[in-house]
């Protein structure tokens, strides 16, 4: 029995251990299966969760990507537009080649115009100068001819310029025939305060007030001496005003400048007391309308209507129908003619 019971005990232990092993193994398998199931479940949950999250963000990502793509596209298109616009703008406004060409052509045309106008102007000035020179020469020649009028040829004696060996007289001869002989210049009375502008600034000529006294007229009666000393006369003439106390200014009165107005007169021509002193200044200039070769025509002073009997149709002068004006009949008859009774 002992051995059978020891064998059964040992069997029992072995069978117990084997049962434990099997149970251990089986529990391990269960646990493993359970763990595996757990992990599978966890994976499932995580899978679903992550898919859900990604799907949620996916829309946003897609939208963003779409937006970026659109933006890039728009950018490219915008660059294309800006490129063409900038080219157009620069070519039209900032550096317009054709406008520049036109402008330069216009400038050259304008330059040509300006050059031609300036050329014309210069030529006109030259012509004017030449004309002035010619006129001066003509005037010189005419003056010479007038001075030498006595060289004109007469009936008997041919003049210098009218030599008998020539076919026609010299142009000088013709000029002499046309010119009027020069009269003597009346002696000019030089006003001692005569105004000379062009000599003054350089002071090349001595001033008139010192050297030239007015020349006295030759037909004057010589004044009889004795004469006073010139210094005395000058002193008396230029003696300064010494007013009496009654009319003297007070020391508070405004200074001499206030009296400037009557001290500096409007002009410096001295006052000559009689009109006969002025008579040498005024030269009578005859009217041009009536002057002929040998003096003034009488028309206008002696008679007022020309009478040509050859031109009369009937043999009578024309008659006036209207009564003559009374005042005109009295012309020249109103006053006595230097004492004679008219």
């Amino acid at each position: 029995y002992f051995y059978v019971f020891r064998a059964i005990d040992e069997d029992r232990v072995i069978k117990y251990k084997a049962a434990v092993k099997i149970q251990r193994w089986f529990r391990a398998c269960v646990v493993r299966a359970y763990l595996r199931r757990l992990s599978k479940m966890a994976t499932l949950i995580q899978k679903w969760w992550r898919g859900y999250l990604r799907r949620k963000h996916f829309r946003e990502i897609v939208e963003k990507a779409y937006f970026i793509k659109k933006l890039n596209f728009y950018n490219q298109m915008a660059v294309r537009i800006q490129k063409t616009w900038r080219g157009y703008y620069v070519r039209k406004n900032i550096h317009n080649f054709y406008a520049l060409k036109k402008y330069l052509n216009a400038i050259s045309v304008n330059n040509e115009l300006v050059r031609s106008e300036l050329q014309e102007y210069a030529e006109m000035k030259e012509n004017e100068d030449k004309m002035k020179d010619l006129e001066k020469k003509e005037k010189e020649k005419k003056y010479q001819a007038r001075k030498m009028h006595y060289l004109l040829s007469t009936e008997q004696i041919p003049g210098i310029y009218n030599s008998p060996f020539r076919k026609s007289p010299d142009p000088m001869e013709l000029l002499l025939r046309k010119s009027k002989p020069l009269t003597h210049r009346k002696q000019q009375v030089k006003n001692p305060f005569a105004y000379q502008l062009y000599d003054w600034p350089t002071c090349k000529k001595p001033p008139a007030f010192v050297t030239e006294l007015s020349l006295l007229p030759t037909d004057r009666q010589k004044p009889q001496g004795p004469f006073r000393d010139p210094a005395e006369v000058m002193w008396q003439r230029y003696k300064p005003l010494e007013p009496t106390l009654r009319v003297a200014e007070s020391s508070n009165s405004p200074p001499a400048k206030a009296r400037k107005e009557w001290r500096n007169p409007i002009h410096d021509n001295e006052f000559l007391p009689f009109s006969s002193y002025h008579k040498n200044d005024e030269k009578y200039e005859p009217l041009l309308r009536r002057s002929g070769k040998y003096g003034q025509e009488a028309y206008g002073t002696k008679y007022f209507r020309e009478v040509c009997p050859e031109k009369w149709i009937a043999d009578k002068d024309f008659e006036t129908f209207f009564p003559s004006i009374a005042i005109f009949e009295k012309f020249g008859k109103t006053y006595s003619n230097t004492g004679q009774i008219v």
């Binding site: 330069l104 050059r115 300036l118 102007y121 210069a122 030259e126 003054w200 001033p207």
Partner: protein, 447 residues
Amino acid sequence: NSGIVCLLRPLLLDVVPSIRQTAALALGRLADYDVDLAEAVVKAGILPQLIGALPEENRHYKKTAAFVLRAIAKHSPQLAQAIVQCGALEMLVICLEDFDPGVKEGASWAFGYIARHNPELSQAVVDAGAVPLLVLCIQEPEIALKRIAASTLSDISKHSPELAQTVVDAGAIAHLAQMILNPDAKLKRQVLSALSQIAKHSVDLAELVVEAEIFPVVLTCLKDSDEYVKKNGATLIREIAKHTPELSQLIVNSGGVAAVIDCIGSCRGTVRLPGIMTLGYVAAHSEDLSMAVIVSKGIPPLCVCLIEEHEDHIKAAAAWALGQIGRHTAEHARHVAVANVLPTLLDIYVDTRSSEDLKMKATLKNILQKCTYLPALEPLLHEAPLNIMKHIIGQFSKVLPHDSKARRLFVTTGGLKKVQEIKAEPGSLLQEYINTINNCYPEEIVR
């Protein structure tokens, strides 16, 4: 000198007026002749006596007194200062208010000589209230008075912008502009010089002068027979053109450039100088304007100036003007190069006798940097010194890689051989250019 001044002094206080006048005239002539005599006159204290009783004297005395003051003031600023200090300016203003044109002329001539020396004296003249009276003098009918008044205004306004502004405020510009049409040559000289002195200071003054409608009348002055009228007219245009591109544009539009070019062509000597500078200023502002100058046939007269003239400053001005024309783009440089002026410029540059301002290195460099016209650059290659050579080779190295015909031409004319002969430090710009050129050609030719 032998006490003459002391002898004349008591005669100035004589009773008889004609003696006073003659004594003053004698003093004036003495002072006019010599500086020392003028100083003696001032030192002897005659001036207060001369001008003391001036308002009551008659017009001849006033004329003589003005003559004396003018004769003293013209020699030096110190003498003019002495005149101002003894209170002569108020007396001269009284003379300017007189009715007689001769007196006015003497007074304004004296003012002109005083104001000429420096800005302080001009300011003193302006402070004495002379400017409105001078503007009235300009309107008088006598030509001599107008001339003197215009020259006095010119002397006053030349020193500073404020003085010029004072002259403008007195309304001078309108009257001066009207007198440009006057046929008298000396008057035109003075008027143009007055306007140019006013216009030179600032843009606003120049615009005021232009608004007085002087264009295109001023261009007729450029065709006048008198040399100095042409010179002053060109000076006026130059002072207006130099300020802004708009003013230069105005001048170009009214055909001024053509007139100036003709003027340069017809004159000789210093008279040309303002015209040359005008072209330089107009071309400097922008490339359109410089193209306008080229189109108006501006380059040939400038080349002629450069070759013909002997004076250094005129040549320098012509070189500068050509540089301004050519520096903008390749087109401009090509026009300048075609006129065959680059060798002349190079000769002037290389010539050891020419002065510093003539060696317009900047001119040559500016033109060369834009010049792509190779046939003109070829002759320069053989003669240029090293620093110019750098630019020339640079230009070749820019053009040759792209143009095969030019490459062939370069070899046949011996340019490539010349390039090989140049020794340059390795690593310098010159060496790089040479390498670029050598790379255009196959190896056998290079060796």
